[in-house]
């Protein structure tokens, strides 16, 4: 479990890093290293060139601009977790972060690293899908924006080209009338979830559901936004019957079987977690409406 030989670079600017990526074949960018380093040690990944982004200060930022949250790719997960601004404007991100690894891994782990690793049930990937985030790629050819659907190209495969790095992500902030929830089921504290479900529920003045967003991860290669379920929730009264109907539909989504977890169990968890997420999100939305 020693990595294959590689050449190491530690650029100080995005331009320098992009230049290195453009010039070298089989190069990989290193963010917090919480996944890439073990994968290199296992020789699952054997880059010839390793471009360390940790000294690029311009990649670590966190800004609320109008109704969006802009986060630099090298912003540590721990910084997001500790941000009062995020706590106020985007609490679902912190709910999700509570499930990401352990404090020690969050001290090093970055949002960009997690997004690029693109584990099917990663919490930050889930929230990006839920909020409809936009990913910002950089290369010597110029900047490029990718919607989440385009970014999540395949199983642990991003839509970035080999000469691009992820510079940041922009997340639309939840609306004031929306309550949030992030629930997941993992075997142990800090493990990747088997299935995770996030939800945003907005209530109309009538008390009916005005908007619903759901992201389910762990079922297949990337989080899914079940549009039909989201649509069907609109105009419904919040309550167990409504959540139950939505949950039943979530339990019919496509899911994969692997050596450890069956598709049937994943679908079962999708059903259970969808119910819980809707219940929690709607309760929070009601609190907001009355508070």
């Amino acid at each position: 479990m020693k990595p294959a030989p590689f050449i190491y670079y530690d650029p100080r600017t995005v331009a320098e890093a992009c230049d290195l990526l453009a010039r070298h074949e089989n190069a990989r960018a290193l963010a917090g290293g919480q996944s890439l380093m073990p994968m290199m040690n296992f020789r699952y990944v054997m880059p010839d060139h390793l471009i360390d982004l940790n000294r690029i200060e311009e990649l670590a930022y966190l800004r609320v601009e109008d109704d969006t949250l802009r986060i630099g790719a090298m912003t540590r997960q721990r910084a997001l977790e500790a941000s009062g601004e995020i706590g106020k404007r985007c609490p679902i991100l912190q709910s999700a972060l509570a499930h990401v690894g352990h404090r020690q891994t969050r001290n090093r782990g970055t949002i960009g690293g997690s997004l690029c690793h693109l584990d099917p049930s990663a919490e930050l990937v889930n929230v990006t899908a839920l909020l409809g985030g936009t990913l910002h790629a950089a290369s010597t050819r110029g900047a490029r924006d990718l919607p989440f659907g385009e970014f999540a190209a395949g199983y642990m495969t991003t839509g970035l080209t080999p000469d691009e790095l992820l510079a940041g992500v922009t997340l639309p902030l939840p609306k004031r009338n929306q309550g949030h929830a992030f629930v997941e089921f993992a075997r142990r504290h800090g493990d990747f979830a088997i299935v995770a479900c996030s939800a945003l529920i907005g209530l109309a003045e009538s008390g009916d559901i005005a908007s619903a967003a759901i992201a389910l991860s762990g079922l297949s290669h990337a989080p899914v936004r079940p549009a039909a379920i989201e649509r069907a929730l609109q105009g419904q009264k919040p309550g167990a019957a409504t959540y139950r109907a939505a949950a039943a539909e979530a339990g019919k989504l496509d899911a994969t079987t692997d050596a450890y977890v069956t598709a049937a169990y994943r679908r079962h968890l999708a059903r259970v977690l969808t119910f819980r997420a809707l219940e929690q999100a709607a309760a929070r939305a009601m609190e907001r409406a009355h508070g």
């Binding site: 479990m1 075997r187 142990r188 039943a248 169990y265 079962h268 968890l269 259970v272």
Partner: protein, 784 residues
């Protein structure tokens, strides 16, 4: 002798001598050993569970800068080529013994079997080059399940073998079949158990240094007993006693499998012999999953016959045990399993037909509990079944069947692996269970359960009892020496892996020598320090080494008095040892220090020894127990099962434990709590997953789940002490009792929580997914 016990002697919870160095990062593990000119080894391992191994092309690997050697079977010294690794415990029932060569000769029988060894300037280079060794493999069909491997047409784990059966043997007492004839009730349970491995924090590792002038080997190895490994070295390399020294430094966990002799150890020695340089190999975590022995599958088919009141008439059935590719420990593991089944219960008639079966997976050898957790799980499943069928409380049905304390010593009627009848020396099983139930609030549990049900929560309680053979012989010796500084050194072959031997053995020595335990240093696990040793496994060190230290210290104390009597011109009987002196009982100021006596004892050049005494103030004792001594324990687990996800949370965990007289209660507490953690892993998390071709899929700690701190409950402990009459200190083993009943108790609790849904659990581990499967529609919970 006067009671000179101090606050640090036998029975005191003194802090561990080991900790200050370990906490400061000053421990010395194998990987901390850096010898001048040392090279590093990496292994080419079979990627197939079963394959013919053909031509090996080393050219590309040898061309890598920094590579010193690539060793294949053909490059091994003649004596190593000629032999397989030694079968440590042969047995006549083992009709088809199979052991591996140090490197695969022409067939690889598990994924990870070493095929070649690459030696280079660094481990990095060695791994690079290992990838370039070109081995011709012809994949063969693999035996991947021990039950399926019994079929006539099943693929053979060893090509050309007539059968996959390694051994078949019965373990019996009385006439089980007759007992079943007139029974009021007979119940049958089929149970599949998949126990976990020994995933110690420090993986295996070895450093070998060959010295050409003396043609001798020094081997530093992370092990559970260097003396047995030395004997293996002598055999493999055909050496004289003086040509091998094996040393085990600090060890970060062993749990059984570090007691085996592995191919890698032979190869580092060969590599040092070939290159003339010291060679190190440190197992990485992937190798640990592939190549370190584990416990794994057992299929049970058991019947119990009881009378109308639930009193056991007999137990009979079949056990299919997976041995993996080879049998380094013979049939020790299934034998221990079989003989542990009766436990604390009177079972007049017992018969278990055991078959040990080869598969193309890494060998199974004892892991903490050594086959006993499986036996207890099987037996306790039967007891729960009887309770359920006859509508008797689970604790009560056990009470009706306990061996009573006044029946001790109790002959179970079967033969243990030490060749002696299983004869429990002492114990009070009813009191043990009663203690656990009381501390666990067992009688009040139905109220707790009912309250929780009202809010849709499902609580369950489970209990399990076990009796454990500990302190197996033949011996573990100790030399106790008073050095000329007056300080005490104890040398022993005992090999701590975290068990605190350097503390507990010092406590025992200090008692008899009247010194503070800080004045005692315990030197373990060096074949140059004491001539014979067995090592630390099977919860045997406190009994064997502890008794030896005690006996040796007594002899040294007697000799110190004899010498002092001569020096002080008094009678030895008038003397006592205290505070580092031998002094007159009647006038404590009249005294000689141990230092003075030790100097006197080694003599002076040219002068005869006074009084014809043998020189030296030291003694070596080898306590040889006549049989095992039997510890016992009762565990009670209280769990909550979340029916919608299948998640199991342990709310409360109680252990009542009897390991005889306790040397250091704090150390025993640590052993038990650690053992429970191991059991929690076995019950709820640990599973080695293989594909149909016996290819291991769980090869890291992200896929093979060990319990985290958040998964291990606080453990409430109840200590009972029924001293063993079979050793001078009344000690029994304590290393495994935390693990042995844990699976059974937790499974019982989960089943109890799910009783409203009629769920029966006949397997371990039990996972959330499986619980949801068993619950069926009920798992829909609020979403239904």
């Amino acid at each position: 002798m006067a009671d000179t016990r101090t606050l640090t002697g036998f029975g005191a919870s003194v802090k561990r001598k080991e900790d200050p160095a370990l906490l400061r990062g000053e421990g010395r593990y194998v990987d901390d050993i850096h010898l001048p000119g040392m090279l590093h080894a990496a292994f080419v391992r079979s990627p197939h569970a079963h394959a013919r191994v053909g031509r090996i092309d080393k050219t590309a690997a040898l061309a890598v800068a920094g590579v010193h050697a690539v060793i294949a079977y053909a490059d091994l010294p003649e004596s190593v080529r000629r032999q397989t690794l030694p079968l440590l415990v042969p047995h006549p029932a083992l009709r088809h013994p199979r052991m591996p060569h140090a490197l695969a000769k022409d067939e690889a029988c598990y994924a990870g079997e070493p095929v070649a060894c690459v030696v280079a300037d660094s481990r990095y280079i060695a791994e690079d080059a290992a990838q370039l060794v070109d081995v011709e493999y012809e994949p063969l069909p693999a035996a991947n399940d021990c039950a399926a491997a019994l079929a006539q047409d099943a693929p053979r784990a060893h090509a050309g073998a007539d059968t996959n059966v390694a051994a078949r043997f019965p373990v019996k007492a009385g006439d089980a079949d007759r007992a079943f004839g007139g029974a009021a009730h007979v119940f049958r349970e089929k149970i599949h158990q998949h126990r976990g491995g020994p995933f110690f924090m420090e993986c295996r590792g070895a450093v070998a240094q060959y010295e050409a002038p003396t043609q001798s080997y020094t081997l530093f190895v992370s092990s559970q007993g260097p003396h047995r490994l030395k004997r293996c070295m002598l055999d493999m390399f055909e050496l004289g006693d003086h040509q091998a020294r094996v040393i085990t430094p600090d060890v970060g966990g062993g749990f059984g499998p570090k007691g085996s002799y592995y191919p890698e150890y032979v190869n580092v020695a060969v590599a040092s012999w070939l290159t003339g340089r010291p060679v190190k190999w440190i197992e990485d975590r992937r190798e640990n999953f592939l190549a370190t022995h584990q416990e794994r599958d057992q299929y049970w088919d058991l019947e119990i016959a009881v009378d109308a009141r639930g009193k056991i008439l007999g137990v009979r059935g079949q056990l299919i045990h997976e041995t993996g590719a080879y049998v380094p420990w013979g049939i020790v593991l299934p034998w221990i399993t079989a003989t542990t089944v009766p436990g604390p219960y009177v079972i007049p008639h017992f018969k278990l037909d055991v078959v040990s079966v080869y598969t193309n997976k890494i060998q199974t050898t004892p892991v903490r509990g050594a086959g006993r957790p499986e036996a207890v799980t099987a037996m306790e499943r039967l007891m729960d079944r009887v309770a359920r069928e006859l509508n008797i409380d689970r604790a009560e049905v056990r009470r009706r069947n306990f061996i009573q304390p006044d029946e001790m010593p109790y002959n179970v009627g079967i033969i243990f692996r030490d060749g002696r009848p299983v004869t429990y020396d002492s114990g009070d099983y009813p009191a043990c269970q009663a203690g656990a139930l009381q501390a666990a609030g067992y009688d009040e549990f139905p109220q707790r359960q009912a309250v929780a049900r009202k809010s849709g929560r499902y609580l369950g309680i489970g209990l399990a009892n076990a009796v454990e053979a500990t302190g197996l012989g033949p011996y573990e010796g100790a030399t106790v020496r008073v050095s000329t500084s007056g300080k005490i050194v104890v040398y022993t072959g005992a090999t701590p892996q975290g068990q605190s031997h350097k503390t507990t053995l010092a406590q025992i020595a200090a008692d008899q020598l009247g010194v503070d335990f800080d004045d005692v240093t315990v030197v373990t696990a060096d074949t140059a320090a004491i001539s014979l040793g067995m090592g630390s496994f099977a919860a045997r060190t406190a009994v064997n080494a502890g008794s030896s230290v005690h006996l040796a210290a007594l002899a040294v104390a007697a000799k110190a008095k004899e010498l002092a009597a001569g020096m002080m011109e008094c009678m030895g009987d008038d003397l006592e040892l205290a505070g580092g002196y031998v002094r007159l009982k009647s006038a404590p100021d009249v005294r000689k220090s141990l230092r003075e006596i030790a100097v006197k004892a080694i003599g002076m050049p040219g002068f005869s020894m006074a009084g014809g005494l043998a020189p030296g103030l030291e003694h070596t004792a080898y306590f040889t127990p006549e049989q095992s001594v039997y510890s016992s324990g009762a565990h009670v687990a209280e769990v909550e099962v979340e029916i919608e996800t299948g998640a199991v949370r342990i709310l409360r965990y109680t252990v009542a434990h009897d390991c005889g007289r306790v040397i250091n209660p704090m150390v025993v507490d640590g052993q038990i709590v650690g053992g429970v953690a191991h059991g929690v892993g076995n019950a709820l998390f640990e599973r080695m997953v293989y594909d149909d071709n016996a290819q291991p899929l769980s090869t890291n700690l992200g896929e093979y789940l060990l319990p985290l701190a958040t998964d291990v409950p606080h453990v409430d402990l109840v200590h009972l002490e029924t001293p063993s009459p079979l050793n001078p200190l009344g000690i029994k083993g304590a290393g495994e009792g935390g693990t042995i009943p844990a699976i059974a108790a937790i499974i019982s609790a989960v089943e109890n929580a799910l009783a409203p849904f009629g769920v029966i659990i006949a397997e371990a581990p039990i996972t959330p997914q499986r619980i949801v499967e068993l619950l069926g529609e009920h798992a829909l919970g609020r979403t239904r």
